[in-house]
Symmetry: C2
Subunit: 243 residues, 2 copies
């Protein structure tokens, strides 16, 4: 599996992804799930992927290959909406190609989910979730974040802490805690993580951070959060259930 | 959906279940998912259920009806192992009966999961998870708890806090926090909760507690936990991601 989070806040955008892929428990590998398409000063399009690795790799390969071509592609579409539509269309193309002539699909799920976010000159930063069917939804001020993959373990902390007005520093702290909870409870999500922060209207060259098991800040957070939780737990009142 | 937790600790057993069932979002109802079979002084068998409501109701009905009959039934089986096997067998019987003559199952999942725990004179307290296929596993000192239904949201806190040596008071506190996280993040799990604590070797009459939205202890925990988390979060160090 996979765990990816993206947030669209007033201050900017956050993207984070783990790097574990697995087919069963004995075929584990590391693949980056964060993909950047950028023209500094003009646009940044970031794509996070979860799902069938053959599908997601093909979608990203086609999107990248076509950047050299005429016609709509990620380096020239006029809006993030068009970028999301292009990702959805390419996904449908790949799934149709790969699943044809596979009898009853042989029980294989060719599907994938994508988070597509960024900023294109002339627009605000925007964030979309592209579904396996190729259609998509956009994050709003009320719902400023999306998750794909193993989303449930790390959702409660985001629900409690994040709003559209959160700072990028708060968002990155919360995201790392969310990953820590997920990694502790689910073997199929693993380090290293990739994280990218983008300040609204900066159009600066993207500087993704890779966070591994030795990362001092991540380890400080993990320790501090674990200890803090246990202290809060201890300080909560007890109930005498037995009379 | 549903969320149920059961723990088998040195000190005793804990069972907790929510009470929401839904078919889609517009057919929501309240059903107790905690079922007791007891002979005070001699045995307590508790069954929590998740999954297809027609299936779980039929399984519990048959188990209960047959308590009046000759042959193996929950009030006379000699061990908790036999109790779990009986639940699994009854589950297979119901699924086989209900799914026959339904063309291709019409896409319906007839499956259900059960947590079966308790103590029978002559044995330690024991806890089993009965799978939809009718086979089952037992909790051990290394893995002293099981969850069924919407288990992921509320798993991280249990993983961090609970061990075989936890007290029943700690376990009940942790369980209520786990339910709070789940209820906040998932609409299909809802109040009231049923909770039952059982002290090892007590064989006392079971006294389940019903916890609703007005329960003062549950509300104290929810508030205290939410505030505590936000304080721990705030106190954690910030990282200056942008140079």
């Amino acid at each position: 599996m996979t765990y990816c989070v993206a947030m669209r806040l007033k201050a900017g955008l956050l993207f984070a992804s783990d790097s574990r892929t697995n087919a069963g428990v004995d075929h584990i590998a590391t693949f980056r799930k964060m993909n950047l398409f950028e023209v500094p000063g003009q646009r940044l399009v970031t794509i996070l992927n979860a799902g069938n690795l053959a599908t997601t790799q093909s979608v990203l390969n086609l999107l990248r290959q076509r950047c050299a071509h005429e016609g709509a592609q990620l380096l020239n579409v006029g809006s993030m909406y068009d970028a999301a539509e292009l990702v959805g269309r390419t996904l449908k193309e790949v799934v149709a190609r790969d699943s044809v002539d596979v009898p009853q699909g042989q029980g294989i799920d060719f599907g994938a989910n994508f988070l597509v976010g960024g900023q294109i000159q002339g627009e605000e930063p925007r964030l979309f979730h592209v579904y396996p069917q190729g259609n998509f939804i956009e994050a709003t001020e009320d719902t400023p974040y999306f998750q794909i993959g193993e989303a449930k373990y790390g959702k409660p902390i985001i629900d409690r802490v994040i709003s559209f007005d959160s700072t990028l520093i708060e968002a990155s702290k919360c995201t790392l805690i969310s990953f820590d909870s997920t990694i502790r409870s689910n073997l199929s999500v693993g380090l290293p993580l990739d994280m990218l922060l983008y300040r609204t209207d900066s159009f600066a060259p993207a500087q993704p951070h890779r966070i591994d098991a030795e990362d001092p800040y991540f380890n400080q957070l993990r320790r501090g959060w674990g200890e803090g939780l246990r202290q809060v737990f201890k300080a909560l009142p007890d109930e005498e259930w037995f009379g």
